[in-house]
């Protein structure tokens, strides 16, 4: 990320940053506060929120009325710990009642620290153990293709540290090889992988035949362009770069 952009008076960027610092606008902000309930949130919650907002506001073809429609887009949260913002977005969009947020993780709650698709409407996969979403997403994309469902797209949200899990690389290589064109991976890069990704994250995908876009993970228009930037012939990855302190 380029700090000089802000220092040199990029007002739009500055405004975006200030909005992020202040938390998301209503109704999402208050809903997130209900999930938080006075607890400390890790940085992963906020680093994921902008991507979730752009996806659910502008990209995904899914509503509470279409959660079982075979023709819906699929959103798979692979980094299942990034759940607070996810639950808040699902509540904001009407997939789950806002009341559910108040006792997240409680004995009678349907909202765990990782999401369970059997307990939460709109949740496509149960996740938590890292490295499962992309394989499930590849299978979902293949299943849609085998049934002639060419409209829906499968989006899988991962983290840069999650890419440490080798299972992701099985899926990346295979999806590229078979040109799984209805699959988009979104990698939140908050620089949390212990050993980093020398040479960049996007190259792990592009070398296997994916298209890739690396963008500022807080810039909604850039995210939208990247998230809709697939070429229709190959799987697509969006690397959303988020650095703390910006």
């Amino acid at each position: 990320m380029d700090f000089n952009l802000q220092a040199s008076g990029m007002t739009i960027m500055t405004a975006t940053t200030r909005a992020a610092e202040a938390g998301p606008p209503a109704p999402l902000g208050p809903l997130l506060e209900r999930v938080r309930a006075g607890r400390e949130f890790g940085p992963n919650v906020y680093s994921t929120l902008d991507v979730l907002r752009v996806l659910y506001d502008r990209v995904l073809r899914i509503t509470p009325a279409t959660v079982d429609d075979p023709d819906r887009d699929r959103f798979l949260l692979s980094k299942g710990h990034a759940v607070a913002g996810y639950y808040a977005v699902l509540a904001a969009k009407g997939f789950v009642p806002a009341d559910w947020l108040d006792d997240q993780g409680g004995p009678d709650s349907r909202l765990g620290d990782h999401p369970d698709r059997l307990l939460v409407p709109g949740v496509e996969i149960g996740s938590g153990s890292l490295g499962h979403g992309l394989g499930l997403g590849a299978g979902t994309a293949l299943g849609l293709r085998a049934q002639g469902l060419t409209t829906p797209r499968v989006y899988v949200l991962l983290g840069d540290a999650e890419l440490d899990e080798g299972s992701n690389h099985e899926a990346i290589a295979y999806a590229g090889a078979v040109r799984l064109a209805n699959l988009t991976a979104v990698v939140i890069d908050n620089d949390s992988a212990s050993h980093g990704w020398c040479g960049g994250i996007a190259t792990r995908f592009t070398v296997n035949g994916w298209t890739a876009a690396t963008v500022d993970g807080r810039d909604h228009d850039a995210l939208y362009a990247a998230l809709t930037g697939q070429d229709g012939n190959r799987p697509h990855v969006v690397v959303a770069v988020v650095r703390e302190g910006e």
Partner: protein, 300 residues
């Protein structure tokens, strides 16, 4: 005339099912890919060979099932069940979807390949999960009907195929079938799948009832209660004792003695043939005879 193997019977039945049922899909990790080449040509969208990637194989199966397909997942037993165990647990069970797993290799079919290709613990590992059906056919002739019925269902299932087996198929519904009746109260020997012939030979001349099943899960507890007296002998072609807890549960209100025979946990570090390993694990007729005789004598 060449005998059809269980693996060949599985390939033929699966190829037919793919043509008959658009809901059926097959996921491979290179193993048997050549045998499925005709099916791949006819159904390229539903026969998916992911390469040597077992985690992905199971993840893809979970994803296919999430879209409503009925995946059959096939590989060598250790790679299918042991290597991808977390994917079985999470990408199938935890997602509330299921698949039909079909393993070959069994406990020591390819004994000369060594430990990496032996999978005596596969059924025990599947047994850590809830709601699974496990079929252990004793003959290639049992495979097509088992596979068809399993694929037609909705639940999770594991078919454990082997190059070992009995001289002829036994068409049963999975409940305990009495093949040799020594009368009321006689010791009951339960043989699972391929070990039946050796077990029957082992008890020649002994007053032991022999019952067969190809379906250790769900275990026929009611059948066991109806047939068992106070002495039960389990003979299983995988890890010894895998079904012992179920016998214990079924007979919890009845004083009884149990002998649970099967493959030992010890790594033998020997090659040779499957027949050699059967003998070394005491699962040939002579070895079983020694174990059963000692067990019965100890109770007299």
């Amino acid at each position: 005339m060449t005998m059809t193997t269980m693996r060949e019977a599985f390939v033929d039945a699966t190829t037919a099912l793919l043509g008959e049922q658009p809901r059926t899909a097959l996921v491979l990790a290179d193993i048997s890919a050549a045998a499925f080449a005709p099916a791949t040509g006819r159904h390229p969208d539903r026969v998916l060979n992911v390469g040597i990637r077992e985690q992905l194989m199971m993840g893809v199966a979970g994803g296919l099932a999430l879209t409503g397909l009925r995946p059959i997942v096939h590989s060598y037993a250790p790679f299918l069940v042991e290597r991808a165990y977390e994917q079985i647990k999470l990408d199938l069970d935890h997602q509330g979807v299921s698949a039909v797993l079909v393993g070959i290799g069994a406990s020591y079919d390819r004994a000369a390949a060594g430990r990496t290709h032996l999978s005596p613990a596969d059924v025990a590992l599947i047994d850590t999960l809830a709601g699974w059906t496990v079929h252990v056919p004793g003959h290639a002739g049992e495979v097509p009907a088992l596979l068809r019925a399993t694929v037609a269902g909705d639940g999770p299932a594991y078919l454990r195929l082997s190059t070992l087996g009995n001289d002829r198929p036994r068409g049963t519904d999975g409940s305990l079938a009495v093949l040799r009746d020594a009368g009321p109260g006689a010791p009951l020997l339960v043989a699972v799948g391929p070990v039946l012939d050796a077990a029957v030979a082992a008890v020649a001349g002994l007053g032991v009832t022999v019952a067969y099943t190809h379906r250790p899960r769900p275990f026929d507890a009611a059948g066991l209660r109806a047939l068992a007296g106070t002495e039960v002998i389990l003979v299983e072609p995988y890890l010894a004792g895998t079904s012992a807890r179920l016998v214990g549960d079924a007979l919890a209100d009845r004083p009884h003695r149990l002998l649970a025979l099967g493959v030992s946990r010890e790594e033998l570090r020997r090659y040779g043939s499957a027949a050699d390993h059967t003998r070394w694990h005491g699962l040939d007729a002579a070895g079983l005879r020694r174990s059963v005789s000692d067990f019965l004598a100890a109770g007299r």
